[in-house]
Every structure is written in C-alpha cells, then in structure tokens.
C-alpha cells in the first residue's frame, strides 16, 4: 500500500502558492473542505482562482477567502447565497466565470479521466457558449468545453484511510469525487481516518490512486444553510 497520510493540514498544504488554481469540493456548505479553507486563510495565499460550485456564505466556507480578498477569480455555477460575492462581482473587483453545474462537474471529471474536452448541450444558445466551438450531433447542438487544469484539489470525505481511499456520506459527496485526481495534487481531509483494511473495497467511492495527501481533519462545524423541518403531529 502506498501511504498518503500526512500529519496535519499544514503538511497537507505544503506547496500552495499565490496565483495558483484550486478546486474545492462541496455544494453550498455541504461537504466543503473546512480545514483546508481555514488554513488558506491563515496562510494568506492570494490571487487565487477557485473552482467551486458555490462560494460559501459571507462568514463561512469560501466566503472567508472572499472577505479577505484572497480570490482573484471564481469559477462557479451558483453564488446566490453570498452578498459579498455579488458585491465584488458587480463592482468588478472579482473575476467570475459562471459555468453550468453539470458542465462544472464534468470539467473536473474530464481532468481526472484524461479527456481534453467534451461536448455538452448545456448552455447552447446562451452567453455561456459565446466564443466556444459548437457542433451538431444527430440534429442537436452541443458546446465544446475544455477540461479544467488546477494545481490543488481540496476535498472532504466522511471516512478515509492511509491508502487515500475515500467514502462519503449523503449529499456531502457532490463534487468531491470528481475533483480527486483532477488537479496536480489532491488533498483529502476526512472526518475519520480509519485503519487500512477497514473500508470495504466494494464500497470505496474514490480509490486512493486519485489522492496524494490525506489527513484527519478536526473541529468540523458542518453548518446548515437552510434548516428546514416539519413538525411531529
């Protein structure tokens, strides 16, 4: 077994530099790499491009990097929950590339799987397709979208082992598996680092080959964005 375990978030983030491109897993605040984000704030890494479906909220998740003006460019599909984001975008302080969510996921998966680009129908006829190659297949129009290129991918899993194998819980899976192996270095933080051999090989969601560094995360807040409940009757 090839050992991917590192001691802590500091060791996991060795090599991050100003101006790099990062991928960050998560949907809303669900399944985001909380420890890596905190450390990026602490390290004050600047001028970064972030590929992430959302930009967190004003005071949590990627919102922390936005508040701190560390982000030069965001590549996301939805940013509706973040006032500071909208302010920076409308004022032009922040460069933003909005990408359909399925395209965002597949641009990650393409990078992971060695595909240079792919044709998707999403966005055809809209400003998302402007300047891009389009093409007819069987009478339907598609847009050519290139794979992402990133320096680091930061993902968060429920469980993992020193071999880098990952398992996710519920919808906190989202973009995390697609980003593993899609950047030069993939850093996985896990709620629980289990002994090697404990994960069922049939139910590993991300095989360790896609992960370069893994560490036991800590102090997960796992904030809920929209707490919706029903009453017991």
């Amino acid at each position: 077994m090839i050992n991917k375990k590192v001691t802590n978030v500091q060791e996991a983030l060795v090599g991050v530099k100003n101006g790099m491109t990062f991928m960050l897993g998560g949907f809303g605040l669900c399944g985001i790499p909380e420890n890596a984000i905190s450390e990026l704030v602490k390290l004050d890494i600047r001028e970064v491009t972030c590929i992430s479906n959302n930009a967190g909220v004003d005071d949590f998740g990627l919102g922390l990097l936005l508040q701190n003006k560390q982000i030069k460019k965001m590549i996301s599909s939805y940013v509706g929950e973040n006032d500071e984001f909208e302010r920076q975008m409308l004022s032009g302080e922040l460069e933003v590339e909005l990408t359909p969510q399925g395209t965002l996921a597949e641009k990650c998966r393409a990078a992971q799987a060695g595909f240079p680009a792919f044709y998707t129908p999403a966005g055809y006829g809209t400003e998302v397709a402007e300047g891009k190659e389009t093409r007819d297949f069987d009478g339907k129009m598609y847009v050519l979208e290139p794979a992402f290129k990133a320096d680091f991918a930061f993902v968060k899993a429920w469980k993992g082992d020193a071999a880098g194998n990952l398992v996710f819980k519920g919808t906190s899976r989202n973009f995390n598996p697609n980003m593993c192996g899609a950047a030069t270095i993939t850093v996985a933080e896990v709620e629980e680092l289990v002994p090697v051999g404990e994960l069922d090989p049939n139910n590993v969601h991300v095989p360790g080959i896609f992960v370069q560094r893994i560490f036991q995360g800590k102090e997960y807040e796992k904030r809920i964005e929209q707490r919706t409940v029903r009453q017991k009757q």
């Binding site: 669900c30 996301s76 519920g170 919808t171 707490r227």
Partner: protein, 218 residues
C-alpha cells in the same frame, strides 16, 4: 382569483405522472412535492446528488450532510441513493429524469427561458438549470405571469440573458396554464375566476385562445 404559489404548485403537481423521475427547482417547484397524488409512484431527484428525496426532517433530526439543491435539509425515502455530481448530471443530460420543473424570470413564445442573471444588477448563477433545460424533454416553468410593476414576463422575446433556447414545453403561472408550441403560448386553462381578457392583457407574447378555456381544477 389569481393563484398563490401553493396554487401554482398544486396545478403543476397534476402534470406529474406515474413512474416519473422529477427534478424540482428552487422556489415554487419545491412546493410541488407536497401536492403529488399519493396513489402514483414518483421519485424526486436533486442535482446535488440524491434520488428518492423525502419530506423535510422532523425538528432535531436534520443532518447537515443531507440536503437538496436549495440547500434545505431533507430526508430520503426507502430505495434512495446518493451519488456524485457527475453521475447526477448523467441522469439529467442522459434524459433519465422525465420532468423538470423550474422557476423563471422570463419565458418567450419560442420556448426560451431566462432565470439566472439581470445584467449589472443581480447574478445568482445558473446552477444546474442550463443542464436541465438543455436536456429534459418535458420542462414546466412555474412563475408569476407579471412582475411587481405589472409588466408581462410571458414574452415575444426574452430581454434577459437566456438559460436555454426553445426548451420550455409548458408554463403554469398565477393566471394560466400555457402550452408552448409553434412559436406561441396556447392557453389551456385559466386560474379560477380569471378571465381570458385578464390573461391576454398580462401576456406580451403571442397568445392563442381556441374554443372555451376551462378553469383549472385546483
């Protein structure tokens, strides 16, 4: 009387058929789940990675790791599954989801939809909407017929940046049920007590009215 949001959701629920996999957008569409007949089999997909969504959890049973695309805490039904974003959009792009219900700022008579951006003012992003409208064969839009200033949102041409082109099959508003075909809105039903004239006045796009227009059964 014009419908409220729940009325719109209730009417759209009648479009959901036995054996349908359905994707519900944020807002009014989310309410549709509450009104689907319970003698048919339906599964709700949420593009953040869950199939087989159930109702909201009981208080105290929320799980931060189990949410829908509106970031709301949810539960799952027996037979549910979780998956990654790439597989979620494989379901959508591959036309395995039968019906997409989503909100809109504007729709046009040729089936275009705009719902993600007001240049210079507001940008929320398209989320999964562009993927959904580009692939789904059955797309129902839930929306108000007019904006707060009383201006029609049912248009000849959308003025806002598009989410998709020529894709909307049906529109259910607070005033009417409209089918979109042959470059026109075809009036199918009126909200209870709402006249054809009222609908005509609130509709900027071409409205086709053929024969007697029944009231919605909501």
């Amino acid at each position: 009387m014009a419908l409220d949001k729940n009325g719109i959701a209730k009417r759209i629920a009648q479009e959901v058929q036995d054996g349908f996999y359905v994707n519900l957008g944020i807002g009014i569409p989310t309410l549709v789940a509450n009104y689907v007949r319970n003698d048919i089999e339906v599964e709700f997909q949420s593009e953040n990675g869950v199939l087989g969504m159930g109702p909201f959890p009981f208080e105290g049973e929320e799980d931060a790791d189990i949410i829908n695309a509106g970031k709301q805490t949810i539960t799952t039904m027996p037979g549910a599954s979780f998956f990654d974003s790439s597989m979620s959009f494989a379901m959508i792009r591959g036309k395995h989801v039968h019906l997409t219900i989503l909100g809109a700022m504007e729709v046009s008579e040729n089936g275009d939809i705009a719902n993600w951006k007001i240049p210079g003012k507001m940008v929320k992003g398209m989320g999964g909407a562009m993927d959904l409208v580009a692939s789904a064969e059955n797309i129902i839009v839930a929306m108000m017929h007019t904006n707060k200033a009383g201006e029609s949102k049912i248009l000849k041409r959308c003025s806002l940046p598009l989410t998709g082109v020529g894709c909307v099959t049906k529109v259910v508003t607070n005033l009417a049920v409209l089918e979109v075909k042959n470059n026109a809105f075809h009036l199918l039903e009126r909200a209870p007590g709402v006249s054809v004239e009222e609908i005509q006045n609130a509709t900027e796009g071409t409205l086709i009215v053929e024969g007697e227009i029944p009231e919605m059964d909501v």
